[in-house]
């Protein structure tokens, strides 16, 4: 068939080819990467199996520090999950056109990070085989979980967020799955055909799709905020010094968005390079994401300053003891956290040249997340180490088991993301093509005007 004369700046076929390039048969390098990640995951599973078959004494957990790196991981991964869906939803609602190529990477990141994060409370349980006691159902003990526990709020909120984010990801992919269906054969065609559910792209389908996307975006934002607020309440509703603070929920939400935005930037760089999407993930996208990161870093710095300043002014002995212990024992980590989360983004991202440099953005975004992992560690461990009773003060070092499980979690996320990228379109294809269609100019008197002027399809 001859190439159609498209109502778009670029040919639809060429754009489909480019944006569905991730679905091409895997190369040897891809297999090597998947094998390496799989091996690390297997090592993490071995470490977890060792912990289950012995007991929790193989971890570094001991009185008074009973929450260690597993809970650090939990908070970190749930935090990462925030920005994916939230950034996507906010940009969708604000009709920011530059959002289009990054939507899928962000939404997929949320689903996989929240999945990894949700595993950590289960890993941390100790007696993991009775995890189903968490689930409210009529059981032989005649007991139901106590909803007064913040941990059960977590379970409820994270379940809602996992389901909501997965539905949000699937909804955005629906038209792209239909395109993938039309361009594939064999098992892929069957898979995409089943997931596309008979989508044909009728005018009515598009209308309803856009209204549903807008509504989902509006619904998912308050869920995202509530999830990390509830994670913060795991700490804030206790009377542990350093945790019992009213600023914790907004501080956690801001921190979550900061790490999430940074993670989206990191993934954008990797996807761009791996699937040769330089034409679609342009310096403009990094520039805009850099501005977003700058604003969030400012907010984080403000929240951290307020938290520390209030503690300093009050000089409550035990609160100040925790802070002094953290600043003294973990000085390098504290400095790295302040540089990575505040100083570096606030200075570097003011410059357009840096925001538009892919390499610089990769370095900054990686450092932000290293700093954010440290921040989670510094919230949890020092507070538990120096609680109210000095005779039980202690310290904590993660054991090889905990470090192996952590490495397995990172590899597990990367493996899931890699497999997803090989099976599903990694760029929101129809969204990008819609933008191209809207760019076409038509002559009008002495000027050229957009051919499809005004509002986006689906606007009321």
């Amino acid at each position: 068939m001859s190439e159609p004369t498209l109502p778009a700046a670029k040919s639809a076929g060429r754009m489909n080819d480019a944006m569905l390039s991730s679905l091409r048969p895997p190369t040897l390098r891809w297999y090597l990467l998947a094998f390496f990640l799989g091996a690390v995951v297997a090592w993490g599973l071995y470490a977890f199996g060792y912990m289950v078959s012995t007991d929790m004494s193989c971890t570094g957990l001991d009185r008074p520090v009973m929450w260690g790196i597993f809970i650090v991981n939990f908070v970190f991964w749930i935090g990462l999950s925030h920005s994916g869906t939230m950034v996507s939803a906010i940009l969708r609602l604000s009709r920011a056109n530059w959002r289009r190529p990054i939507l899928r990477a962000a939404e997929a990141m949320t689903v996989f990070t929240v999945t990894v994060g949700a595993l950590f409370p289960l890993i941390h349980l100790g007696r993991n085989w009775v995890f189903f006691y968490l689930i409210p159902y009529p059981n032989q003990r005649g007991l139901w979980p106590n909803f007064r526990s913040a941990l059960l709020w977590d379970a409820t909120a994270i379940f809602t967020y996992v389901i909501g984010s997965s539905l949000f990801l699937y909804l955005g992919m629906l038209p792209d799955l239909a395109v993938a269906r039309d361009r594939s054969a064999g098992w892929r065609r069957t898979l995409y055909g089943a997931l596309a559910m008979g989508w044909r792209g009728t005018a009515r389908e598009w209308l309803i799709f856009h209204k549903a996307s807008t509504l989902m975006a509006a619904l998912i934002i308050p869920v995202a905020v509530s999830v990390h607020s509830i994670v913060a309440w795991d700490f804030a509703v206790t009377v542990v010094p350093g945790w019992h603070s009213t600023i914790f929920p907004p501080y956690f939400v801001i921190g979550a968005i900061l790490s999430g935005v940074a993670a989206v930037i990191t993934l954008m760089v990797i996807i761009r390079k791996a699937f040769h999407l330089e034409e679609y993930l342009t310096p403009l996208h990094f520039d805009n994401m850099g501005k977003l990161l700058l604003v969030i870093a400012l907010l984080w710095s403000y929240a951290y300053f307020v938290e520390v300043q209030t503690t300093w002014y009050a000089h409550e002995p035990i609160e100040w003891e925790v802070f002094s212990f953290m600043a003294g024992k973990y000085t390098p980590a504290l400095l790295l956290m302040l540089v990575g989360n505040s100083l570096l983004p606030l200075t570097a991202l003011c410059f357009r040249r840096i925001r538009r440099s892919v390499g610089a953005m990769l370095a900054i975004s990686l450092l932000v997340n290293v700093a954010m992992f440290i921040e989670r560690y510094l919230i949890i461990v020092p507070s538990l180490s120096h609680k109210n009773m000095p005779f039980v003060w202690g310290t904590y070092f993660p054991s090889w088991v905990e470090l192996s499980v952590t490495a397995g979690a990172f590899a597990g996320f990367a493996l899931m993301y890699t497999l997803f990228a090989k099976c599903f379109p990694m760029v929101a294809l129809t969204d990008v093509r819609e933008l191209e269609a809207r760019k076409v100019l038509v002559p009008f008197a002495r000027a050229e005007l957009p051919s499809i002027a005004g509002k986006e399809a689906g606007d009321d």
Partner: protein, 195 residues
């Protein structure tokens, strides 16, 4: 009912076909476009703007809120934990669980409602052409048996959904639609067998 799908190479010829079909007496409600990219309503065809699935979202939100309240407050009531003078049903936890389940049900309800209103999933074969994914435009006409008026939506204006061709036999309507689409520049016509 029979559905005929014309595949067009560009937007202009597809638009021309729609105009001629309407001019010939086909109702707007009988015609729709099939595209891989959304276009504003009225650019090719007009669709009913009103959608109802948001009512399902609201309904599910209320059901979820009731379920969440029943789960948190009901658990506390059935398995009371006496803690000093604190109430058996704790306000904040009940509020949090109620909120989370209400949102979960609302999110699920939105997706279910969307598919219900779209009429998906559809597993039977319908007129379609993979060229649409490559940027071609499909214009679909639903032919109703002779003498049967096209079903109107409540918001449709009088005359908008009862085309003047409805009195003709289905076969004649079909051949007229095919002829118009070919004249407008259709690359090919894909027709569905009568059901």
């Amino acid at each position: 009912m029979i559905e005929i799908l014309g595949i067009f190479r560009d937007f202009e010829s597809a638009g021309r076909a729609v105009e001629r079909l309407v001019g010939e007496g086909f109702a707007e409600a009988q015609i729709t476009s099939l595209t891989s990219v959304p276009y504003p309503d009225g650019a090719l065809v007009k669709t009913g703007q009103r959608t109802r699935f948001r009512w399902l979202t609201l309904g599910c939100f209320i059901v979820g809120a009731v379920a969440g309240f029943a789960l948190a407050a009901g658990t506390a009531w059935l398995y009371p934990v006496q803690t000093g003078e604190k109430p058996i049903i704790a306000y904040y936890p009940t509020g949090i669980v109620t909120y989370e389940l209400a949102m979960l049900f609302a999110l699920a309800g939105t997706i279910v409602g969307m598919f219900l209103e779209m009429g998906l999933p559809v597993w039977r074969k319908r007129p379609y052409d993979p060229a649409i994914a490559e940027g071609c435009i499909g214009i679909s006409v639903t032919i109703h048996p002779g003498g049967e008026a096209v079903v109107c939506g409540r918001e449709a204006e009088t005359g908008e959904c009862i085309g003047s061709v409805f009195s003709l036999p289905a076969g004649e309507q079909k051949s007229r639609a095919e002829e118009i689409m070919r004249e407008a520049g259709a690359l090919r016509i894909v027709a569905e067998e009568p059901s």
